[in-house]
Amino acid sequence: MATKGKPPKPEELSKISYTPPSKGWMDTPVEFKPGMYCHGTRAKYLEAVGMPFPRDWSASEADWKLPDNWKEIVLQGIKERLQKFRTFHVFMDICVRCGACADKCHFFLGGGDPKNMPVLRAELLRSVYRKYFTTSGKILGKAAGARELTEDVLKELWYYYFQCTECRRCSLFCPYGIDQAEITIIGRELLNLLGLNIDWIMGPVANSYRTGNHLGLEPHTIKANIDFMIDDIETITGIKVDTTYNRKGAEILFIGPSGDLFGVPGNYVTMGELMLFHEIGLDYTWSTMACEGGNFGFFTSMEVAKKLYYKIYSEAKRLGVKWILGGECGHQWRLMNQFADTWWGPPDFLEEPVSPITGTKFENAKGSKIVHITEFTADLIKHGKLKFDKSRNDHLKITFHDSCNTARAMGIFEEPRYIINSVCNHFYEMPESTIREKTFCCGSGSGLNAGENIELRMRGGFPRANAVKYVRDTFGVNMLANICAIDRAALPTLMDYWNPGMDVCGVHELVGNALVMKGEIERTLDLRTEPLPGKGGTE
């Protein structure tokens, strides 16, 4: 097991060596460094989902308890995927190792390990591909960049493919357009053929398979948690907002990340959403059977991702809704819009999403029938349907972290900024090379926001934290807004480490603060039930 201890102090961690090892990469064996990798998954989680080779094993031990024919399984797995995924085949062949991606990866920038250069991380698998699937590799071997698949190579793949957050920043700079995330996705699929996942991914997968959400919240618990938020909203606004669960015939099914039903500051996002829906009289319902926008199955294999996500459409069909509104979630967006259509085709039992308040057709969601809440809210604001008191957010100087999947994958750049500027007076951008499509990952995406790999997370998040530090020092920024639940879980830890005092929030928390609701009392508290400065509060 990896050591759980605290990472080195920031002063130490920021001394990054970029000097490569003296030997070539093939001759430099992988070293499992505590704090840089996660616990291997336990048998019970794999068993829960019917995945192969469930067993308890530890990455730090020599014996990974592999099946005797493990090599055959991996090679057959590669063969099948070369046939199935044209992209994978192309990406295995076309890299010219120009190195344009090398210094674009947050893990390489924050850690200095050459095998975290995307070109080399991919080369770990490409070398195996060459050995078994190309003529030059079969004949020339190492001279052609090929190598045998050994247990050490397999362990190296595991170590580095769970040190990639599938953020795709490197892909943006690749002259060939190689999507490194897809290589990591396939790499993880291959590892999963041998039961080699990590605990923090498989636990949520097993929970979601059982309950429909990563946290494993049961239906009455979901309601209890939302009831608590409704109670807080009443304290803050004097208004008792209403909501419904599993209501057949509702126009819209709302599905946010389950982290927003428990964790801080995610629960304040849910509160903002509940207030917004109340104010516009939205005809929507929750499903207590499919209450998860996130999908850690995506970080496991396509098949597992499908198993988890089918619940969303299945519930939409059962409840007879017209379309689906998604919460502030990151990878939900990439999956729903870039994978779901290919898996199942557009769901014919749903309608093309139309805002019941403004009449806007969300033509971009014709296929998936699912709209991101920032698209929905930005449209409401654009049509003058909401009234705000921006001064309630005046104590905040805000910057916005573009989440990799919503921004780089889906192009949701303007909507969150438009909302923030509509509800806040003080908004500042981080440097251009760190936002929008060039955004830096939080360092904990793709299921890597565990507890035991904290050094990896702090290193991977260093470039993002550095950009936040710049706006803090230059403009006095004190709030880091985002639209992703992993960000809301991971960034507070990252900020505590690199930029103590920097707070983190979701965009709809800011919306809830500023939203002027019909019949509300004079606001003296923010959504965290803390006094609003200058609004009759104590400060």
Partner: protein
């Protein structure tokens, strides 16, 4: 199986100090568990939190939202952090069964999956 002794009281815990039998818990048991964790006194505020967490777990099979605990008990914000070193310690002293590694990450590292 380790046994924690506290006055005349003897209770069964696991190697990490989690109570074996959920129903063994009472205020005395809580004091014994707390002493094992180096907490000298379980004040009224602390005991209230433990009882609330325990009741919520019984009913909802999960840890309550942190803010909800404080608000329901009319205690200050961050009452769990102020009264106990971590939510995980609260879990343990409330006599809840040894949590899954998943819950440990949620409570100890304040992480939730996206």
């Amino acid at each position: 199986m380790p046994i924690v002794e506290y006055g005349d009281l003897k209770i069964n815990v696991d190697d990490e100090g989690y109570l074996i039998n959920f129903d063994d818990w009472n205020e005395q048991t809580a004091c014994a568990l707390a002493e094992r964790e180096g907490i000298e006194e379980l004040t009224l505020e602390k005991l209230e939190i433990l009882k609330f967490v325990r009741q919520f777990y019984k009913e909802f099979n999960f840890f309550p939202i942190f803010d909800a605990v404080c608000k329901n008990l009319h205690q200050p914000h961050n009452c769990i952090a102020e009264q106990f070193a971590s939510p995980l310690l609260t879990w343990k002293l409330a006599g809840l069964p040894k949590p899954d590694e998943f819950i440990v990450t949620v409570l100890e590292h304040k992480q939730t999956p996206g």
